[in-house]
Amino acid sequence: MPRWLLELLPTWLCAFLGIGLVAAARGPLLQSYQQPAAHEEVSLLLSPEYSVVFSLGHREALADYLFANLLVKYGLSFREKARFEATYRYLDTITTLAPRFARPYLYVDTLLTMRPTPALLEDYLDTRRLHERGLEALPSHQELWLVAGQFAAYLAPQRVPEPYAKELRLKGARDLARACELVSNNANIPYGCIAAARLLNREGQREAMIRMLSRTLSVNDDPEIRKMALGYLEQAVNERERDRYARRVQALESVWRQQVPHVSRVMMSLLGPGPEVWKCAGLNAALTPGCETTWRDWTEVKAGFPGNGR
């Protein structure tokens, strides 16, 4: 062997040994380095109660920051094709810090159940828990009622065991019924109302279904929706109730056509019956039939449908 080759041998040996050592150590080290990184994410986030104190009064600002951070982590989890374990803790902390911050509630089902790995039972239950928190904090947020209702009634039940599924379907139907009562620009809402009615009926909530359909009818002018709602209502009630309901609808329609045909049905509901002022002047006259100023009085006195004026 040439002398120059022998002189180079230790150098090459060291280099090969070094490369081998790096190759052998890199894999496990990388793995153990990444694991604590993911774990730190969980442990570095303070508990919701501590976060409130830590925010020093700037609760909304901290909630905003954490929400932006969560969206980044959510996106990065797709790059890593891994489940971001701290999602619920983030959302819990954000909604504790700013309970009336609507966006996190609207994104809850996406962030917890649309993940790169299949969602677990706890993700669906956590989603429902956060939706309920949102509905409590924002009771007039129509879109939130709709989102929570659709998720609980249609998406979650197919992925959870039956006892949970039944409960979720019922809660979802009630949320959708509530969404129907609130004002919205969403042209699709009346169809949601009909769907909610079907769900309530299927779950044995007949009274709730009748109440909801009655409300849908009283605020909706769309003939197609009215036809669908009436069809379901007719199936749900007995003949006597059906007659009573038909008479009430006819009486209301006649008041509408006679008094304020130029306004919508909803507007008429808000205005109330219009008494003839010259006939109803004075204390005694105010109590006579035809002088009612609210729909409840009008229903009880004039049309004779006790308890159904609302």
Partner: protein
Amino acid sequence: MCIAIAGSVLGVGVPAFFRNLHASRLVESMDGLERIARAAAERAATEPVPTAYPASVGPTPAAVPAGVALRDPPGSWDDPTWISLGFGFSTPHRYSFEFESEHRGRRARYRASARGDLDGDGQLSEFSVRGETSEGKAPLTFPLEMHREME
């Protein structure tokens, strides 16, 4: 010395910043598909199988925004399908959405997809959800599908 440090900081920070920025925008597609899935399932629960899902509609907007958020021209989301799904955007956004449906016999199915090009390199990421319904059964929504999720 200062320039070297600033250069190093920028060298590390800028790519990470853009990576995070792109990652945060992914939620638009996911939330869009979730909205479509919820509305489609609700409609399928109300309507008979032949009309369980609204008709197919092509990519909206027609061209996937390349690396920028675009505001759609008026009327972009006026297609009856988008209206019946209650879906659309009034603010600038980065993904193009499509809805395909078919009805065969006693079964109807749909596929909603979102395509995006967040870095504007012409390579598209694609996400989709599928669902189906058949007579007498509750509508089903299948798990998310992804193709080149980070472009």
